[in-house]
Amino acid sequence: MSFHRFLLRRAFMVLPLLIGVVFITFMLVRIGGLDPVGRLAGPTATQAEFDSIRENLGLDQPLWQQFGIYLGNVVQGDLGESWLSNRPVMTDIKERAMISLELLFWGVGIGALIGVPVGLRAAFRPNGKFDQVTRVLSLLGFSIPTYWLALVMIFVFFYLLGWAPPAIGRMSLLVSPPEMITGSYLIDGLLTANWEAAWSSASHLVLPVICLAIVSAAPIIKQTRAIAIEVLASDTVRYAQACGLPEKNVRKLVLRNSAVPVLTFVGTEVTGLVGTMSLIEYVFAWGGLGQYGLNAIISGDFTAVQGYVLVLALFSVLVFVIIDIIVHLIEPRSELN
C-alpha cells in the first residue's frame, strides 16, 4: 500500500473513533454531576441569576441540540470557549501542548533509554543477579504512586538536600522567559542565547523528568525483557546459535528482532502516561495540558474538558501513525496497514 493511501485510510478509520470520543465525553461531563453554574453565579446569586447563566451557556436546551451545535463547531476547528475564563479552548490547548510535550519527550525518552538496555540485559541472563535486582526495582517503579513519588522527591532533593530547584513551575519566577519560538523554555532559551533562561529551565526539568522516567521505565524494562526472552527462544535465534554465530552477532539479531514490538510498546506507553503526566504537572505546578485538563475536570468546565479529551484522542492516533511509519522504515517488509 502506498504511503498516501495508508494515511488516507488511517484518517478514514479515525473519523468514527473521534466522533465516538466527542459523543462520549460530551455525555459523560453532562451526566457526571459537574455543574459550573453554581461556581459562575457566586454566593449572592438569586435563582433568577442562576437561570439566566444557565440560559446564556445554552444549558437549558435539550442535550441532543447542545451536542449538535458542539459537533458542528468542532468540525470547523472551534472547540468553544471555556466557561470559566471565556478564552477559546483551542488557544489554551495550543499554548500548553508544547509545555507538556517537552516534559513527555524527556521523561519517556530517558525512561526508554534506561528501560530498553536494562530489559535486554536482564533477558540475556534470566534469573541472574542483574535480572533479579531489576525485577524488584521495576516492580517498585510500577507500584509507587506517582503523586507520592513526586512529593517525596521534592522533599528530599529540594527541601532537605537543596540540590534541585523549587517545584514552582518551568523556570525560576525571577528569570524572565525567553522569546517564544517553539514554546519550550529550554529550546527557546538556547535558540535565543538566553543562557540564564535555558539553564533555569533545564534545572527545573530535572525532577519532573526523573519522576516520569521512573514511572515509564518500569513497564518498559518488564516488557522489553519479556519480548527479548521470546525472541531468544525463537527459531531464528536458535538456528543462529546452532550455526555457532558469535554471541555478539546473536545479540544483534535479538536486538533487531525485538525492535518492532518494543517500539510499539513504547508508543502505547506514551499515550498511556497522560494520567500520570497530569499528576506530575499538578505537583510541580508545571502549567501544561495535563494540569489544564485536571483543573477543567475539577471545576466542571465542560468545554475545556471536551477539548482536552478530544486533543488527547487525536494525540494517541498521531502517535500510533508515527510508530507505524517508523516500524515500516525499520522493517520495510511490514505492510503499512
Binding site: G33, P36, A41, E49, I154, I168
Partner: protein, 524 residues
C-alpha cells in the same frame, strides 16, 4: 577638588539622599502561592480568585480604620475614614449623600480620579445585576450621579446604617474610565472582555501580565495616592498542590500561601520558618434546620438538636481546637454581637426531655437526612460528627453528600428546599444589622433554610433605617435573643481565618472579605 566644609556637607547630604532614594527604589518581590491563578478581574462577575486580587486594585471612597486588640492589628468597624473621598455630607432625611473626592488621585495610566469614574462604576454594577448590584440593594442605593468634577451624589431609597460600610468594598468598583472606555465597544460597552485580563483602578497595584492557569504579575501603581508599598511586585503563582505550597513556604521560596487547610496550619505552627497568623472569622459554620419542614416545625425539636450537640468536641475533632465556639449568629468581631443568648450547652438529657415534650418520647426513628457538600472543607466532618451525636439521643440523622452546586441551587432564595444541612456564611460588611439581615431575615439571601419570624424581620427592618448606633445595637440585641430562642441553626463555630507567611512578613490585617491587602505588608 578642594574639600571645604560646604562640599563635605553637600556630599554627605547627597549620599544620604541617594541612600534614601535607593532604599525607596529597592525592588521587593513577593511571591504568593495559590491553588489557582485568578480567572478574571471584574468584581461584579466573581470567578476563581477574582476577589483575592481585585481587592488589591480597586479601592473605594471610604476605608476602615484599624485598632490593636491583644497585640494584633484589626479593622475597627466603628471607624470609617475618608479614602478616595475627602469628606461627605448627608441630607437631613438621610437619603442624599454628597462625596467630595480627593483631588490628584492618579491611576497607573496617569489619569485623574473624577466623579464620572464613580458614576460609571455604579452604573456598570446596576447593569450587570451581579455582586455590585446586590451591595447596592442592601445599602438602599438607587442612583449615583456626578454633580461636578470632584463631587458625586448618592441617592438612597431609605436611610441606611450600612451605606458607608458598603463604600469600603471593592465593588461597585471605581475604575479609571478614561482607560477602560478605550477598550469598550458597541457590543461590550462596559469593556467586560478587556477586564477578563486587565485592570484599571486607583488602588495600590495593577495587573502587569497574566498567563492563564499559571500566574498573574502585579506591580505597584507608581502614582498611588497612599504612597509606595513595600512590595513593588507581587507574583500570584498557581501551585495546585497544597503540599507543594507548604514546602515552598517552609523553604523560603514563596512569602505567602493562600488559605491553608487546618491540617497544614497545625503542621506549620510548629515550624520556625513559617509565621501563621490567626483571626476570629466573621462567618459561622452551622447545621441549619428548615422550620418549614415538618420535623423542624416545633421549636422544642430545634432546641433539642442544639442540646444534643457537643460543640467543644466538634471544635477538637473537626477544627483541631483552633476555631471559636459560636454562641451567636453574629461573629464576636462585629460590634453588637452578644454571646450570652445562645445558651445551648451540651446536655443530652435535656435534649431527650424536649423531644419527649414535642411528641417524640422515643426519639426520631424516621431518617433525617443531614446534607453536606464540598463547598467548605468542614461541611463533611461536621455533618458526620453531628449525626453521630444526634444518634446518641435517639435521632436517626443520616449524613448525605450532594454536589456543591446542587446545594447552592437548593439554598437559593427562591428555593430553600433543604431541611437539614451544614454550611458556612458570613457578612462582608462588619455590621450586626447587616449580618442579621443577610442570614436571618425572611428575605436575606443567606437565610437559605426558610427561617421566617415576622417579629425578628420587624426588628431588623427597624435596625436598617435606624441611624443612632446605640438604638441599633439594642434592637440587634433583642433580635439575637429572639433568634436564639427559635434556635433554627445548630451553631457550631467561627472557623477562624489563618494566613501563613514567611517569618519576616509583617503588617497583616484581617479584612472581612478574608483577603489580605498587599500594600500593608512588609518584608523587613
Amino acid at each position: 577638588m578642594k574639600l571645604t566644609g560646604k562640599t563635605l556637607v553637600l556630599s554627605a547630604a547627597l549620599a544620604l539622599a541617594m541612600s534614601v532614594m535607593s532604599g525607596a527604589a529597592k525592588a521587593e518581590t513577593m511571591i504568593l502561592a495559590s491553588p489557582q491563578a485568578p480567572e478574571g478581574f471584574d468584581g461584579d462577575a466573581l470567578k476563581a480568585h477574582t476577589q483575592n486580587v481585585v481587592t488589591q486594585v480597586y479601592e473605594n471612597l471610604v476605608a476602615y480604620g484599624t485598632m490593636e486588640v491583644d497585640g494584633i492589628t484589626t479593622l475597627n468597624p466603628d471607624d470609617l475614614k475618608p479614602h478616595l473621598a475627602e469628606s461627605w455630607t448627608v441630607s437631613e432625611d438621610g437619603k442624599t449623600w454628597v462625596f467630595k473626592l480627593r483631588e490628584g488621585v492618579l491611576s497607573p495610566f496617569g489619569n485623574e480620579l473624577t466623579a464620572d469614574d464613580v458614576e460609571w462604576g455604579w452604573a456598570k454594577s446596576f447593569e450587570q445585576k451581579r455582586t455590585g448590584n446586590f451591595i447596592a440593594r442592601v445599602s438602599n442605593v438607587t442612583g449615583v450621579k456626578a454633580i461636578s468634577k470632584y463631587e458625586v451624589e448618592f441617592t438612597l431609597s431609605a436611610p441606611s446604617a450600612i451605606f458607608l460600610n458598603a463604600l469600603t468594598l471593592y465593588v461597585p468598583g471605581i475604575y479609571d474610565t478614561t482607560e477602560v472606555k478605550k477598550h469598550a465597544t458597541e457590543a461590550d460597552p462596559w469593556a467586560l472582555e478587556w477586564m477578563q485580563s486587565n485592570t484599571a483602578g486607583f488602588g495600590a497595584y495593577h495587573l502587569e501580565s497574566l498567563r492563564a492557569d499559571d500566574q498573574a504579575v502585579f506591580v505597584a501603581n507608581p502614582n498611588y495616592f497612599g504612597g509606595q508599598p513595600y512590595y513593588d511586585r507581587v507574583i500570584y503563582k498557581e501551585i495546585p498542590s497544597e503540599a507543594s505550597r507548604v514546602t515552598l513556604l517552609k523553604a523560603g521560596q514563596v512569602q505567602w500561601i493562600d488559605r491553608p487547610s487546618i491540617n497544614q496550619v497545625v503542621n506549620m505552627q510548629a515550624d520556625p520558618n513559617v509565621k501563621v497568623q490567626r483571626a476570629t472569622s466573621r462567618s459561622v459554620a452551622a447545621a441549619r434546620m428548615n422550620p418549614s419542614c415538618e420535623v423542624f416545625s416545633d421549636t422544642r425539636v430545634r432546641q433539642a438538636f442544639n442540646y444534643a450537640v457537643d460543640k467543644d468536641a466538634l471544635n477538637t475533632a473537626v477544627f483541631a481546637g483552633q476555631a471559636d465556639i459560636a454562641r451567636s449568629i453574629v461573629s464576636p468581631i462585629i460590634a453588637g454581637s452578644n454571646q450570652e443568648h445562645f445558651a445551648y450547652d451540651f446536655d443530652p438529657e435535656k435534649a431527650k426531655a424536649l423531644l419527649a415534650e414535642a411528641g417524640y418520647p422515643d426519639g426520631i426513628a424516621e431518617p433525617v437526612e443531614l446534607l453536606y457538600s464540598d463547598a467548605f472543607w468542614h461541611q463533611e466532618p461536621v455533618a458526620i460528627q453531628v449525626a453521630d451525636m444526634l444518634k446518641k439521643v435517639g435521632i436517626n440523622a443520616v449524613p448525605t453528600r450532594i454536589t456543591s452546586s446542587e446545594m447552592r441551587a437548593k439554598a437559593a432564595p427562591a428555593e430553600q428546599s433543604m431541611c437539614f444541612f451544614t454550611w458556612e456564611d458570613g457578612p462582608i460588611v462588619l455590621d450586626a444589622v447587616y449580618s442579621m439581615f443577610l442570614m436571618t431575615h425572611s428575605t436575606g439571601v443567606s437565610n437559605r433554610a426558610k427561617y421566617n419570624n415576622p417579629d425578628l424581620d420587624a426588628l431588623i427592618d427597624q435596625g436598617r433605617e435606624e441611624l443612632d448606633s446605640e438604638k441599633r445595637m439594642a434592637l440587634m440585641d433583642e433580635a439575637q435573643k429572639l433568634w436564639a430562642e427559635d434556635a433554627p441553626w445548630i451553631l457550631v463555630a467561627y472557623p477562624a481565618t489563618f494566613e501563613a507567611m514567611a517569618p519576616n512578613v509583617s503588617g497583616w490585617v484581617y479584612y472581612p472579605d478574608e483577603h489580605e491587602r498587599w500594600r500593608e505588608l512588609r518584608g523587613d
